[in-house]
Amino acid sequence: MTRTLTIDGKAVTARDGETVLECALRNEMSIPHLCTHPNLPPFGACRMCLVEIDGMRGYPASCSTPVAEGMRVQTNTDAVRRLRRKTLELILLEHPSACLVCDKRELCERYRPKAEKAGCTTGCHTCNNKEVCEIRVLSEQLNLAALPVAPSYREMPIERSDPFIDRDLNLCILCGRCIRICEAHHDEATIAFVGRGSKTRIGQAFGRSLVDAGCRFCGSCIDVCPTGSLSDRYAKWRGKPDAVVETTCVFCEAACALSVSSTRGRISGAKALRGGVPICVLGRFALPEFVNGVTRLTVPSVRVGEVLREMPWEEALERTSRKLKQFTGNTFALVCDTTSTLEDRHLFERFVQEVMGSAHYIEIEPDRRGVSRAGLPDGVKAALMTGAFVESAELDRLDFLIVQDCYPTAISEQADVVLPAAVFAEVDGTVVDGDGHFRPLRQAGKPPGQARAEWRIVTELAGAMGAKGFDLESATDITRELGTAEAKLLPERGAAPAAAAKPGNRRTHFRGHRIDERVRGVRYLPVDNGAVPVTAAGG
């Protein structure tokens, strides 16, 4: 049933179950608001969204007032503007607010638009949230110019003893969004309002750490925090990203849709695309750290004598192709796992069959921990591997080994050729989730150094070997060649994936690499009673 009402004299039609605020926002009319959030039920705590409604006493909060037929709403009277500003002034008495009332604000913004890093934030200029802060937006909307009385500072020690999350409760305005999202996303919330009256704060029962309190590290609390109080330790000083790309997480077969942000082409953060259900610690926190590791392979190298020598792509591919020609037929094998895109794997398979004339295209399905392991067929003398998938001992019988990977491993150290590969959010393509649906991967950041997409490496290697039919320009060309159904993101799922409900359910490996070697924070979240399975190869 639809209802008609007027907001600021304009007739609008409300949808069933809508609140006054939702209806106004949907009709592109702005009402300042703070504690409410699209992923949360109405709360009505902050009183920023007060309006006047004919026939209703006082000033109802539009976020928690359902629409009714014939309602007449005023959102911008002198009285509500004054009330909102006074309310904001009161909120800001417990939030470092000097920069908001500073008379040199414009000059400061001109000379130092970016926030400067600080351990403990005492103003916008040293706040990680500066560029996306909802308080700053409100203070501008409401023309905040001064504080009624001297503000207080809570003198809470900043909390940075947990993995991934920094917490500075001196910035907290107690809107409760973090607590409410934790309650909505998990059976048992980790955080709650602790203490009473002026001592109320966000915390865990009995003063435990987040790890000890069983936090799932889904990061949803950070995503909904309107201030800089909760922050992603890795991404916090990157400021507002200059690009955001919607892609799919490939850490496991759940294939959650991610919103991946980047600054100057460097991936800086990732979060759930919609945030209706939580994602796991890997999807939320591990991606940027994993792809930005300082030991990433960035330059092709070929063994010359005893040493792996770095050289340009062209020369590396030329040397590789010359040697590889000696191993056609079933003496060659290619080993990959299903974390490579469908496009990459299609090209791998074509390369094995058409260029090498071999039957040994080996594609591994990782186990529930992400561990991918395979043995090499008898008679194989040369191999191309896209990760550390075989036991080191097996390599002894190879005469020629090409490793195409993102990080060095015990296997790549023994290789004759090491080619730097782009992975994950650095590439376009298609992946298949655990239910068999096609999910898109979209490039969200530049690969490091000279690293290239895997399909491209194989295409060029095929070209160097004189093969025809490998002149493909983009991953889309290959998708077309594959003729698969259109890949669609999975922005909303019915229930949280297993690893989001319990971090111990997560994968521990990605393409032969131990994730905790690249992303140190996950070491604090044990799996299998603390024993992380280790492949002999990945080490």
Binding site: S97, G119, C120, A150, V211, R520
Partner: protein
């Protein structure tokens, strides 16, 4: 190795660190600075000397946590050893009889003007210390500064204590009211120093600013701290840190300070959780 004798957070994010460095304490003069390396792999970072005691061998610094290296320092405890402390470095401020000297300071500068105020007053100057902070809870060293200055003026940006505004607003007002200031010394962030210089220039008041560019060796070898003053290249470490505010190329200073901003962010991305794990905690077993 240099022992930390005392450490205290005197205001949020502002840490007073007292180090045992007797040789430095014997030689130090107002306006000089030290270069510290928290551990053997640390970056070298300059910190302005706040105070020292030649008898006990203690030197006091004010350290703001502003990145990876300062974070290492502020996480150390009394009794811990700092790997390297080099100094005193830089040309001391000329402490003569100037007349009325206004010392404007913010952030770490509030600590840094302590010894300057004391020496200036001893040289029979009338010393006005003007210290700015965003809010009342960010002021520190009030008693110490009152003791060594003729007048102490505190400002806050939000008006919660003292005069509402910045130190430069006080200087501007006094100059406009006709008060004679013979020398203005400013220690703080480049923004504050630049703005103060702009206001004193039309009044032709000599204004010295303590520049804080990126610095590596601190002895004039590397050139990382070069600044342009009156179109001439100067090294802040051996020619400074004090320069004429009206002759500094501020735009160049901003640019050079930002040269490694991305790398500086990168260095704090991977920091581990900082608080030592409690015995018996689940995280303790990892």
């Amino acid at each position: 190795m240099f022992k930390i004798l005392h450490k205290q957070e005197v205001a949020p994010n502002v840490h007073e660190i007292v180090i045992e460095a007797p040789a430095i304490a014997k030689k130090a003069q107002p306006g000089q600075f030290l270069i510290l390396m928290a551990d053997e792999k640390s970056e070298r970072v300059p910190y302005t000397l706040s105070d020292w005691d030649a008898d006990t061998g203690a030197v006091t610094l004010i350290v703001l946590e502003a990145g990876h290296s300062s974070r290492k320092l502020i996480l150390m405890e009394p009794g811990d050893q700092i790997e390297h402390v080099v100094g005193p470095l830089g040309v001391p401020l000329e402490i003569g009889h100037h007349g009325t000297v206004a010392l404007a300071a913010g952030c770490y500068g509030i600590g840094a003007i302590l010894s300057i105020a004391r020496a200036m007053r001893k040289a029979r100057n009338r010393v006005i210390a003007i210290v700015e902070a965003r809010s009342h809870y960010l002021h520190y060293y009030e008693d110490q500064l009152r003791e060594v200055s003729d007048e102490l003026i505190q400002t806050t940006i939000d008006g919660s204590e003292g005069i509402k505004g910045h130190a430069v607003d006080v200087i501007k007002k006094r100059l406009e009211d006709g008060e004679q200031l013979d020398l203005v010394v400013v220690v703080g962030c480049p923004f504050m120093m630049m703005l103060t210089g702009r206001e004193t220039e039309p009044h032709k008041v000599r204004t010295l600013v303590a520049l804080n560019p990126i610095m590596v060796d601190g002895t004039g070898m590397c050139g990382a701290c070069r600044v342009s003053v009156s179109g001439e290249m100067k090294f802040a470490c051996v020619d400074g840190p004090f320069f004429d505010a009206h002759a500094v190329d501020w735009d160049e200073l901003w640019d050079r300070k930002a040269a490694y901003s991305q790398e500086e962010i990168q260095s704090v991305e991977r920091t581990e959780p900082v608080v030592p794990l409690r015995p018996g905690s689940r995280t303790d077993t990892l």
